[in-house]
Symmetry: C2
Subunit: 690 residues, 2 copies
């Protein structure tokens, strides 16, 4: 009864929160709306500062600047790969944590690129002009790709500038996002994995939570810490229940404005296909990780990634299987179609867009397996194969004019490509052989032993035998060999006898063929149709809405708040450090690191640890700063609750929650567990002088 | 073009085959229909003989008698577990094959029970009378279970008689199936796994095929080979394209007459849940099997079973995701509902049956995970746990009157239960620890670390740690210990400190609770509703139809025939022994055994090997005899083609095919590869004297 009453009380209180939906672009942030709800109106200066103090890890995370000397705060799990890449069998920074005592101890991450958004330009007219009159197909694709490559190249005046033309509102707008690019990113500090991911997979996407999921990086320029004018001072007191908070970060992608046909393909084909792949690979790697401690160490970032993806996708699939939710989507689409049909001009402009998309989805379904295996690479689960393909394709692509290349080989993209080729990150034979052998088995299973590509790849070999031969026989682990092959171009690639190059050469035609099919028969007609639908959407619903997430910088507003489960259980907004000790069992993944056990008496157990807020986020927002109206960093976003997974398709303000580490927990533990004096000084210094 | 013409030609020829649908019960076989199509009318004598020469392996397969001395033919994969159970690290009969030189060398399979159907009685009136006036719920369930137990107990006059009340037509009929029961079943011969399952998982459910998937067993009575009056002589020439052929076997289950609500639950929840479980477990066991040769050996039957189930379920899911197929189902249900609604008497009798089922499916969805984990046992993937639960439950159940027990503990079921308890089949620690540790991880993942059952099961232990402790600490591997615990009843179980007994005791209440929820809120209302729908179905569509498969004996008719794929590819009906040599690569699973390579020159390559027929079968039919009109065994069913998987929900005569080993391949290889003189003599002897 008490639970029910509590539920009623909080449901009533929660009503204003319905307005918290939205991953807003900085050029169209609804400041007035925030003022109406929360009494604070972010102005242009506040917005510019917040934007410039925000950052993106190009690999798929968010971050922020937290000192004028290029100090960057992000999640442990965003730097997990780097931490593992810098580790060895003898010194495992993932398990032990990492703390650079001095600037000299800060070590470069081989594969991290950091971006700071400096400008947004609307290039819609230019992009649309280039494809004017073209139906969604080959010509449209080429024209659009060419124009995007031209725009990006004109913008990217050097390697330190990154320019991406991004598609917003499913083609309703095309914007040019210009970033300052940092590729010299060094690891400064990270706690032990055991506390960064306390509770492990079982507690992932759950709350209450007790994770210290942080890492500090630093961007360098010309071998020196970069000067970063815009940064967030860290709040000592941390967030309080009810506080207005903003999340400034890079939600990776949502599908709130896609059609029913696309949702159904996702539900019936794409997500199940991925989940089954991930489930089996998870089994493979869990068992692999148990064979030796070193196998455990080298497979840990993959396993983390797989488990996280699996849970996220499963949560999204649950939303797609929620009848009430889908009925709502179906009704909304029907109502919108009716509005369009009622307006002759609109109806003509939109044409058969929905049918076009539905037809494209049918075609997609036919090639889904092949596309996933050959082009998206699921048949070749191996870093070495990825590098070999990159080299083989580069040899072809680099000879073409910029506008005609595959998008990832355009001039504006080369810095990333070169970073990857030159990376000194270790590649482990055992892991490569295991995942590659397995994925080749999947290739044969899905396409059948008689498929021409399968025969070409395997010949008479078994998948494991082939994987062994490829990995043991390849020299591509050596960055110098890769760089030489890249520099040598088509001739060097054609002459190479490296078994991975030979394989990548052999299957590239097949992979490109299915990619072309996908791009011309699925992607292009869908893009064109969505452009038309987006136009109608603006006409019917107005333009004061936010676009689906596209891994571009967004600002979300909300407040610190728990929620009430359907069964009446009330989840409070904040956890405490003492709670972590209560939850600990001494066994992974509920085992606190020794540093914590030692420091227990020095820690103030009442310090808030993790926090839930109503902000609208999604995967990609990991590492985002949680900022208050005063512009202080009060938290570090690292997760969403289980209900946030449905956020891919729609925002449920009652239960969707962002989960962050509080700034108070960061400061308390940096000081009392890790003795990170230099770091605390850098973080607190500015606060004190503020 | 030629392909297209071929397709047209064969499509036309195939028309009569549309009538080949049906898994007919022996008491209602449509002989006249067969005569109309094929010119042969099976009479009562032919049917009785065929029925009595057919057999069932109670664990889930079909078989047949092939000599008057109790010789039984079934698949290798039906005896795979037995062959593995009789093997050791030093002598691996799965890899090497098995051949009993003399009768004395025939070895008893620890867990095989064989049934021969001797009578069918209609007990519909009795069962319905017992539940008259009861709505689908607790009282209905208890009354039905009690009456079934009574009927079975009256029928089962001794351990050598097995009696099952089976539900046909989803409750339209209740029949009593009376079997002669054999529990002393011995292994006589089996080829190497490499040829029994040549092509492995990639070729499974595919055709052309080259598998010698046989094993010979023998039933014993009182320590002597049993006399079996009815048996099939083996055809030397084997089947020819176009031949009329019958399959007499035990299709395990189909869902052709279920409602849309049930199909949708299967599509959206049950099958995906199982597939994900199997996918991950497959990953776990594939990797486990690579750690040592012994791990490979002991995990091989599980891995085979998992891969086979995975592929079968995936094929079925594809049918449920086939829009055209599902639209047909939806229309048929709508049309049927309309017919019912138009008839006042019918409408009253059926009532809200469809809505009742739909509501039950919604409730099922809510408890699906918990039911699967706790009651169906997916949280405790361990033979030892299964035995422990059996003992714990038996202690409670055996004190109750027969009619009130859980169905599997009723008196008529005790022989199976005792066979399992007394089995000397080895149980391997490493395998148990691996699958149990993993499944406990799944338990925690799915229900969450804070779930009361999870906390009770794990306490502070990690899943792997708990699995290790349980397996290493248990004495349940010893059959004598199990028998003593069973004999000791409630007191012995309550006093036991065996860690598996302790665990099974601790979770039994939770498992029973979710079982009760399932039985009373899902199963009972669905049964009751289906009884009403079945009645209406008979009224509207007549009674000359066949019931969904229920692992009871069925007879299917059809003909030897290939088929044409949608892309025009023509698949012929027969393969040859020479084809196997052509397909071999020397690598698993395309590696022919040494015996075959040695015998190559002695073999007639033109001998037919595997055959496709239009018979309507499904999983459970493995091991069925393929019989011609003359009553000769012309083949041994071991698979269906990929299109047969959709047969769970409907029969597509154009493409659904049964796959069998020909009798000619059996005789040719027994003689020329295996030198199985004694066996060939026994098989050929009777043929010659016929």
């Amino acid at each position: 009864m008490r639970n029910l009453l509590a539920a009623l009380c909080c449901l009533a209180l929660a009503q204003p929160a319905l307005a918290d939906e939205g991953m807003w672009t900085y050029d169209a942030f609804p400041s007035a709306q925030v003022k109406a709800t929360y009494g604070f109106e972010p102005d242009a200066k506040w917005l510019d500062h917040t934007r410039l103090a925000s950052a993106r890890l190009a690999g798929g995370c968010s971050a922020s600047f937290v000192s004028p000397d290029g100090l960057v705060l992000t999640n442990h799990h965003c730097a997990h790969s780097c931490i593992e890449q810098l580790s060895t069998a003898k010194r495992d920074f993932v398990a032990e944590g990492f703390l650079a005592k001095t600037e000299k101890d800060e070590v470069r991450c081989p594969e991290i690129e950091l971006n700071q958004l400096v400008a947004i330009d609307d290039v819609t007219d230019r992009v649309l002009a280039a494809t004017k009159g073209l139906a969604g197909g080959k010509a449209f694709n080429e024209a659009q790709r060419g124009e995007m490559a031209r725009i990006e190249k004109q913008c990217a005046t050097g390697d330190e500038v990154r320019c991406d033309v991004v598609t917003l509102y499913q083609g309703g707008r095309y914007h040019l996002y210009k970033y300052r690019r940092f590729q010299d990113v060094r690891l400064v500090a990270a706690p032990e994995f055991a506390i960064a991911f306390f509770g492990g997979d079982p507690d992932n996407f759950n709350f209450p939570r007790y994770d210290l999921d942080f890492s500090f990086l630093r961007v360098y320029e010309n071998g020196k810490p970069a000067k970063t004018e815009h940064w967030f001072p860290m709040s000592v007191s941390g967030p309080k229940d009810g506080d207005l908070v903003f999340v400034s970060g890079h939600p990776g992608g949502t599908n709130r404005k896609v059609t029913m046909a696309e949702l159904e393909l996702e539900r019936d084909a794409r997500t199940p296909q991925r989940l089954l792949y991930l489930a089996e690979l998870r089994g493979i790697l869990s068992e692999f990780s148990k064979t030796t401690p070193e196998h455990k160490r080298i497979s840990s970032p993959s396993l983390f990634y797989i488990e996280n993806s699996f849970k996220a996708r499963q949560g999204r699939l649950a939303a797609l299987h929620d009848e009430v939710f889908m009925a709502g989507k179906r009704e909304a689409e029907a109502a919108f179609k009716k509005q369009v049909a009622a307006d002759a001009a609109l109806a003509t402009a939109v044409g058969p867009a929905w049918d076009t998309i539905a037809a494209a989805m049918k075609r997609y379904r036919l090639i889904l397996d092949r596309h996933g295996l050959l082009e998206e690479g699921r048949a070749f689960n191996s870093d070495l194969f990825g590098l070999a393909r990159l080299l083989v394709r580069a040899a072809d692509e680099m000879e073409k004019p910029n506008e005609q290349r595959l998008r990832e080989y355009a001039d504006a993209r080369l810095p990333q490509l070169k970073q990857r080729l030159g990376s000194e990150a270790p590649i482990y034979d055992d892991l490569e052989i295991t995942t590659l052998g397995w994925s080749l088995t999947v290739l044969r299973r899905v396409l059948g032993a008689d498929d021409a590509v399968v025969k070409k790849v395997l010949g008479e070999r078994s998948p494991d035998e082939l994987a062994q031969m490829l990995v043991k026989g390849s020299k591509l682990k050596d960055a110098a060999v890769r760089k030489a092959l890249f520099a040598g171009g088509r001739k060097a690639i054609a002459a190479s006898q490296d078994p991975f190059i030979v394989l990548a050469r052999a299957v590239d035609g097949d992979a490109r063929a299915v990619r072309t099919l996908y791009e011309e028969e699925v992607e292009a007609p869908v893009k064109r149709a969505h452009e038309a639908i987006a136009k109608a959407d603006f006409a019917v619903h107005g333009t004061s809405t936010y676009p689906d997430a596209t891994f571009t910088l967004r600002l979300s507003y909300g407040r610190v708040a728990g929620w009430t489960e359907d069964d009446g259980r009330v989840v409070p907004a904040l956890t405490t450090i003492a709670g972590a000790f209560e939850r600990a069992t001494g066994r992974d993944p509920f085992k606190l690191p020794k540093s914590w056990l030692t420091a227990r008496t020095q820690l103030d157990g009442k310090t808030s640890f993790d926090v839930a807020t109503t902000n609208d986020i999604i995967g990609g927002n990991s590492g985002s700063p949680l900022v208050n109206a005063a512009g202080e960093l009060v938290g570090l976003v690292f997760d969403g609750n289980i209900h946030s997974l449905a956020g891919d398709y729609g925002f449920d303000a009652r239960k969707n929650r962002t989960v962050a580490v509080t700034s108070s927990a960061l400061l308390e533990t940096l000081e009392h567990v890790y003795g990170a004096k230099r770091l605390v000084g850098e973080l607190r210094g500015p606060v004190a002088t503020k």
